[in-house]
């Protein structure tokens, strides 16, 4: 395994505790602190079904390069208490080099974590905290961890201010005091913690964003021009909506909380018909309820976007944990022949880029776009580079937007079968452009028709406008070269990129392809990218190998391609992908 670690693994820390222990707050501060120091970082969290008082854990990984996934194990496990560890022990892989920090007054390390050989160190957090007015254990522990990691105290202080600043001095002061006390105590613990390789600050601080995938998706929406959102709350999509609600207003738009998802999807269809780019966000159960509405958007050629933040399925499933198992419904869940767009965000920063692109494509192509994110993207935070102005547009490219019919067109037919398949649209308020949008089959003028010729013409036009469009190079992110290809989509990209990088670093040329555009699949470009690969492994986080099957359905994969698909809720880690690559080899060569 050791040769794999030549890729800089950064430092991985888990902070755990029961609900209310402040583990997540400590993690958020630490993320801000490493960001302040100039590192990139990724903070995931684990929550149980309890609203309050359940387990809680923050998982942080940081280093000098953008961090796109969790590592294979944690270097440091910080246990504020052991009360609920049984519920997420699965999520805490440790190695013999790991260190466990626990309070000196705590019970022994629970057996559920056993068998890894990590060293255990008891620290006097509780005692220290009790000496402080309103002293909190999580802050003391945070301070001692910061010291162990060699972070400058100003960075921790900045992290505390950025994270708790809004709560006012009454919270801020004791928090800072706790961190300070912990920091002071930790410096001379005599331990040998896994400091970040390269050490010290890396980049000018001002140039980075600290945001969650759900926030990034909200940003992508407004960058794409969305000014109306209707939605119904659902885990893990709600934070995207909560980020959007006050901000849409500042932009002159609005968010409407609907009575259910049947309403929300139809509300955005209405708003978009009115000319305002519109979006909703949901998760699996809500997406199910939107399928009929999305079919209406497709048939009536009304642009709309749904961001689907996936969670464990099927049915109510595991609402608080991640999975990539909604690809099937996103691709095929509409009744009838209903071609539409399906995109997937490849990372937290990419939530912004992909949602923006999805909005622009839907607007330009007058159809429904489903953008897939998931719990692990949506509810994790990262320190990332800011997005450029046109994430996917070359300078020469015309801006992707809705094609509006010229007012002078005396023979306006709303559903005219043009060469591109895109029919210039009129908007309410435009004189002479009146038409009735319809989900009933219709002729070019929009008059209902059940004649075969009209049906064929409209079906083909709705397909052609999607398949003939030139999507440029944004359909995938491709890294490295090699006869071995790791092919993936959506949030699995992070772990796949790292696995491929490790293979390359180990002298085994490997190309990683992460699909951002899934439907329509840019088949020729993908075939080209796969060309001549001797090993192809399709990686995804679901049971049914949904993407693998989809790629086969379009005859993209050669017979020797194989699949590594495994359901949630545990995040995909690079190491398991490397294991899958190894397992795949002998079978293929036999």
């Amino acid at each position: 395994m050791n040769e794999r670690l030549t890729h800089d693994p950064g430092t991985a820390i888990a902070i755990i505790g029961s609900g209310g222990s402040g583990a997540v707050t400590a993690g958020l501060i630490l993320l801000a602190a490493v960001g302040h120091t100039g590192y990139y970082g990724l903070l995931g969290r684990s929550a149980g079904p309890q609203i309050r008082g359940g387990e809680s854990a923050a998982m942080l990984r940081f280093g000098p390069h953008p961090v796109e996934c969790m590592g294979d194990h944690f270097d440091l496990l910080v246990a504020l208490d052991w009360d609920t560890v049984g519920r997420f022990a699965d999520e805490l892989p440790l190695a013999c080099t790991s260190m466990i920090l626990t309070d000196a007054r705590h019970d022994e390390v629970p057996a559920v974590l056993g068998g890894h050989g990590a060293s255990v160190h008891a620290l006097p957090w509780r005692d220290l905290a009790s000496t402080l007015p309103e002293g909190r254990v999580n802050m003391v522990a945070l301070g001692s961890v910061g010291a162990l990691l060699g972070l400058p105290f100003e960075a921790l202080e900045a992290g505390v201010r950025a994270t708790l600043g809004e709560k006012g001095e009454r919270i801020l002061a004791p928090s800072l005091a706790g961190v300070r006390a912990g920091y002071a105590s930790g410096v001379d613990l005599g331990l040998n913690p896994p400091r970040v390789s390269g050490g010290g600050a890396a980049a000018p601080v001002a140039a980075r964003w600290n945001l969650s995938g759900n926030e990034a998706a909200g940003l992508g929406a407004v960058r794409g021009g969305v000014r109306f959102v209707a939605a119904y709350p659902i885990t893990p999509a709600s934070e995207m909506l909560e980020w959007l609600a006050p901000r849409l207003e500042l932009l002159g738009g609005s968010l409407l909380q609907a009575e259910d998802e049947l309403a929300s999807v139809n509300m955005i269809i209405g708003a978009s018909f009115g000319g305002v780019p519109s979006l909703t966000a949901t998760s699996g159960p809500g997406l199910s309820l939107m399928m009929e509405g999305l079919g209406l958007a497709v048939a009536s050629e009304t642009p709309v976007v749904v961001v689907n933040v996936q969670r464990g399925g099927p049915s109510t499933g595991i609402p608080t944990k991640s999975e990539q198992s909604d690809l099937n419904i996103a691709l095929h869940g509409l009744h009838g022949d209903a071609p539409h767009l399906v995109l997937a965000a490849l990372g937290i920063r990419d939530c912004a880029a992909t949602v923006e692109w999805g909005v622009r494509l839907a607007e330009h192509l007058q159809t429904a776009a489903i953008v897939l994110s998931d719990q692990i993207l949506g509810q994790s935070r990262a320190i990332v580079d800011p997005l450029t102005d046109q994430p996917f547009g070359g300078a020469g490219q015309a801006p992707l937007q809705r094609v509006i019919a010229p007012l002078a067109d005396s023979d306006h037919r709303r559903y005219r079968s043009t060469a591109t398949g895109i029919s210039p649209m009129t908007l309410p308020g435009m004189p002479g452009g009146m038409y009735t949008a319809d989900g009933l089959e219709h002729n070019e003028a929009g008059t209902p028709s059940s004649r075969a010729a009209d049906h064929l013409e409209q079906l083909e036009k709705r397909l052609r406008k999607l398949t003939d469009f030139d999507y440029g190079s944004a359909w995938a992110e491709i890294r490295g070269e090699g006869e071995r290809v790791l092919l993936t989509w959506g949030s699995a990209a992070g772990a796949v990129f790292e696995a491929a990088a490790r293979l390359r670093a180990a002298g085994s040329p490997t190309k990683a392809i992460a699909l951002r555009l899934l439907a329509p699949l840019p088949r020729a470009a993908l075939l080209d990218a796969l060309g001549g690969a001797s090993q192809i492994l399709v990686v995804e986080q679901n049971q049914g190998a949904q993407c693998f099957a989809y790629l086969h359905s379009l005859r993209v994969l050669p017979g020797h391609a194989s699949s590594y698909a495994r359901p949630g809720p545990l995040p995909l880690r690079p190491g398991e992908i490397l294991d899958a690559v190894e397992r795949d080899q002998p079978t293929r060569e036999a």
């Binding site: 980075r208 209707a230 500042l250 738009g253 409407l256 269809i269 009146m434």
Partner: protein, 278 residues
């Protein structure tokens, strides 16, 4: 006062599109179509500033027959579609049409919440107490003992849905009832509904010639509402308890806060991005 530049007067027939209705001869929905065009002409609304939104059903076919913008959506979802449109485009006059099945069966939830939300929409339900388009099943407003649907051979056994009573309970600010057999009364009610600021609900008794021929009786049954349009809730509640379902007129009207989007631009996406720099 002279208009600064003259706009030609729009006549009712200017609001009628060229598409021939699929309705059965004698269907009550024809009268509603005609009243819609007359009301629009009365109000001299620009054709391009009106949007007619509907679901699915015989009644829901109406938008295609009106020469304005329109959206013939899916079954039961006309109100949310129209609400989204109005939220995005408060400048438009948005009129929603549909049937008793579309509005009170599959669409019942949206009806409740649209009443609560009180957006400035007009909602016309052409109530024939039957699903016309799917060939004659019981709808929520059908009598419990109507036995002519094969789906419910002993009658639905359900207490009829009382549209005005439910709208009132849900907080609607304008409730009226018209009759397809009284076209001029209907036009007047429609004008009042469109002019009402907020959610205006207009139930139109609109007989289904084909599956409820006995609704010919409605001509005899309807009568003008004896009370003045109540604006006092207690009074309205009392009136609705004694309502036989055939009183025509404005049954309730009251000014209530109207749901409005807050469309004032004070920032750009770049401003929002700045907040992530921390």
């Amino acid at each position: 006062m002279n208009a600064p530049c003259e706009t030609p007067t729009r006549r009712a027939k200017d609001y009628r599109s060229a598409i021939a209705p699929v309705w059965c001869p004698g269907c009550g929905h024809f009268a509603v179509l005609s009243a819609v065009t007359k009301a629009l002409a009365h109000l001299q609304l620009g054709q391009e500033r009106v949007a007619m939104v509907s679901g699915i059903g015989c009644s829901s076919r109406l938008p295609a027959y009106v020469e304005t913008y329109g959206f013939h959506g899916i079954h039961g979802r006309a109100l949310p579609l129209a609400s989204g449109l109005k939220a995005a485009r408060p400048d438009l006059t948005v009129i929603v049409t549909g049937g008793d099945g579309d509005g009170f069966s599959i669409g019942g939830n949206h009806f409740l919440h649209a009443c609560r939300r009180n957006m400035d929409l007009t909602y016309i339900v052409m109530d024939n107490a039957v699903y016309g388009m799917t060939k004659g099943q019981a709808s929520p407003t059908t009598e419990a003992d109507w036995r002519r649907s094969k789906l419910t051979p002993h009658g639905s056994g359900l207490r009829p849905f009382l549209p005005a009573t439910i709208a009132f309970a849900a907080g609607a600010s304008f409730i009226a009832r018209g009759f397809a057999g009284d076209p001029s009364g209907l036009t007047t009610l429609l004008v009042a509904a469109i002019e009402h600021p907020g959610f205006a609900f207009l139930q139109v008794l609109s007989p289904c010639q084909t599956f409820r021929p006995e609704q010919k009786d409605w001509k005899q049954k309807v009568h003008a509402s004896t009370v003045e349009p109540a604006s006092d809730p207690i009074e309205a509640a009392r009136f609705l308890q004694s309502d036989d379902g055939f009183a025509l007129g404005v049954l309730y009207a009251r000014r209530l806060p109207v749901w409005q989007p807050r469309n004032q631009v004070s920032a750009t996406p770049a401003d929002l991005e700045a907040a992530f720099l921390r």
